[in-house]
């Protein structure tokens, strides 16, 4: 579905991503792990078009999409969340969601002036959808709260909620679990699986929570210093010597071993 081909990105002297290649297959939930600063978020930023790579290619559905803008990629079905919540602060939680659906009639200024009734009808549908998402995320009580006033975890959920407001093909989730409570997280994991199974979504998700990775992701790709260290199913990645050394460490190894 997405093929990442020797992608690199430098910021001044820092090579954040350095010759990274791997594929995200259709219908998978691909996990992306690796130490802090490995370049995972930078990779997402390039796939989603936040900035162009210094070199390398991104092929999506057989098409070279390197360097397309974020909004163009969104319309091709690539939707992402941000690791650090990018909420619209002085807009309500509901508005944060309602702005997402593409091609709303009321985004055309002349329609808002001269065919308000049609715009309003569509607004009702969009609002209903937004309220459903809020309910699923257990955020109904903060519907009209300004997003800037929400707690860290609530902002994180709102991030996720935005991806639920559109029909996506590929969803890139950057640490969706960070700061979210356990019961809700289990529910989110179920939702992710369900969207994959029933609607054929493809997911790529960055996580430091190995339980979530183990539960959801196959395959798992481990990055270090801007490149792929190893990939495969969770077990094989977890027991890979290099991964242990660079990221999980032997204690983490024992810990997950103990739990398994």
């Amino acid at each position: 579905m997405i093929s990442i081909q020797s992608l690199s990105k430098s910021f001044g002297g820092v090579k954040a991503v350095n010759g990274c290649s791997f594929d995200i297959e259709q219908g998978t939930i691909t996990g992306l792990i690796g130490p802090n600063g490995a370049g995972k978020t930078t990779l997402f930023n390039m796939i989603a078009g936040a900035f162009a790579p210094t070199s390398g290619k991104i092929i999506y559905q057989g098409q070279d999409v390197t360097g397309l803008r974020a909004d163009q990629l969104f319309h091709k079905g690539i939707v992402r969340t941000f690791q650090i919540p990018h909420e619209f602060e002085r807009m309500t939680a509901l508005e944060n969601l309602m702005m997402v659906p593409p091609g709303q009639n009321g985004e055309n200024l002349f329609r808002t002036w001269f065919s308000w009734a049609g715009v309003r009808n569509q607004e009702r549908e969009v609002r209903k959808k937004g309220e459903e998402v809020l309910e699923f995320l257990q955020l109904t009580h903060i519907r009209d709260e300004l997003a800037g006033n929400l707690s860290g975890g609530q902002k994180k959920l709102l991030e996720l909620g935005r991806t639920m407001m559109t029909e996506a093909k590929v969803v890139l989730l950057d640490e969706p679990g960070a700061g979210v409570n356990r019961t809700l997280l289990a529910k989110l994991a179920e939702m992710i699986k369900q969207l994959r199974d029933e609607r054929g979504y493809t997911f790529a998700l960055i996580e430091h929570d190995m339980d979530l990775i183990a539960h959801l992701c196959d395959p798992v790709v481990c990055m270090a210093q801007g490149a792929v260290l190893c990939q495969g199913d969770f077990e094989s990645v977890r027991s890979n010597e290099e991964v242990l050394e660079a990221y999980l460490g032997s204690s983490a190894h024992q810990e997950t071993e103990g739990k398994a």
Binding site: A48, G49, A50, R69, A70, D71, F74, H75, V79, R80, F82, H86, E87, F88, E89, R90, M91, T92, L94, E95, N96, M98, M99, V100, P102, Q104, N105, G106, E107, N108, L109, T112, W113, W116, V119, E123, R124, V126, R127, D144, L146, R162, T166
Partner: protein
């Protein structure tokens, strides 16, 4: 008593004109967060455009077309809008602070053109032959009618801005203002939206210029100096509450009240040869007033309130 009524008519007309300008700025800054510090450029281009198409007679500069006032208003909006389109195309992918600098430059260029291109604008001597001059209260009620018309124009501008604000269009603009990267990630072509907002705001400023032209019946580059035609409008919007269309209008009325009130005071207290110092004092006073408002009401008199889609 009659003097008071007359003063009231002229005051309301000018405040209404500033209300229109302030609404235009609210679209750009209040909705979208674009820092336009060259309001004077769009204000002036609107004023001159309307003057050119509506003026009558054999003039030493452009004009003499003699079109009706309503055509003048339309021409003002179109020309200011087109200018904003090209200015926006060049500057809107700049960061917001660069847009501010670029817009100052554009206002300065426009001012120089108005001053120096006499064949077109009449230069420093001003533009003559404008049809309509409605600031004369002894002119059989025309000033009153004009004031009413200004209020109607202001009302229409308010209605269009308010609907734009509450629509999905306005929601995207605010999202861009809050976090452009996220707005793009959510599929919104932020450049196109920003350009639309810039053009709309500038067209409204141009309309304000046209309304001003027919009020005074005479325009010259002096009328569009940055103090009166940019700074004051910013103060109005910030004091009234940016992001709030009612606030934009309220700010215009209050600040224009203070501005014209202080003129009265400085000119009656200070000796005539200190008129220049008087002007400084008024600016100082407006500055202090703005500080006081922002200290007590950081978001202005009428803060933005995020629309809550109504239940049905």
């Amino acid at each position: 008593m009659e003097g008071l009524i007359n003063f009231g008519i002229l005051f309301l007309t000018m405040a209404g004109i500033y209300g229109i300008l302030s609404l235009g700025l609210n679209v750009q800054w209040g909705f979208t967060g674009m820092l336009n510090v060259g309001i004077a450029a769009f204000f002036a281009v609107g004023a001159y455009s309307s003057a050119i198409v509506t003026s009558v007679g054999d003039l030493p500069h452009w004009g003499g077309i003699g079109a009706p006032m309503i055509i003048g208003f339309a021409a003002a909006m179109i020309v200011s809008g087109i200018m904003a389109f090209f200015v926006g195309l060049i500057t809107l992918n700049l960061r917001s602070d660069y847009l501010a600098i670029a817009s100052i430059g554009i206002a300065e260029i426009i001012r120089l053109v108005l001053k120096n291109e006499e064949w077109m604008t009449g230069g420093v001597n001003g533009f003559t032959g404008i049809s309509g001059k409605f600031n004369n209260i002894f002119d059989g009620g025309h000033a009153l009618l004009y004031m009413i018309m200004v209020m109607v124009v202001l009302g229409i501008a308010y209605f269009l801005c308010e609907r734009a604000y509450k629509s999905p269009w306005g929601r995207v603009q605010r999202a861009i203002r809050e976090n452009e990267i996220a707005a793009r990630a959510m599929g919104k072509n932020s450049l196109s939206f920003r350009l639309q907002s810039f053009v709309l705001g500038s067209a409204i400023m141009g309309l304000g210029g046209a309304v001003y032209t027919h009020f005074t019946g005479f325009i010259s580059p002096e009328a569009f100096d940055p103090l009166l035609a940019t700074f004051l409008i910013w103060v109005m919007l910030i004091a009234g509450g940016s992001g709030n269309n009612k606030g934009a209008i309220l700010g215009a009325f209050i600040i224009w009240g203070v501005w014209s009130g202080t003129e009265f005071i400085t000119s009656s207290i200070l000796p005539a040869d200190m008129a220049t110092q008087g002007a400084y004092l008024r600016v100082l006073f407006i500055g202090i007033l703005l500080q006081a408002i922002l200290l007590t009401r950081p978001q202005g008199l009428l803060p933005e309130n995020a629309p809550q889609p109504d239940k049905d």
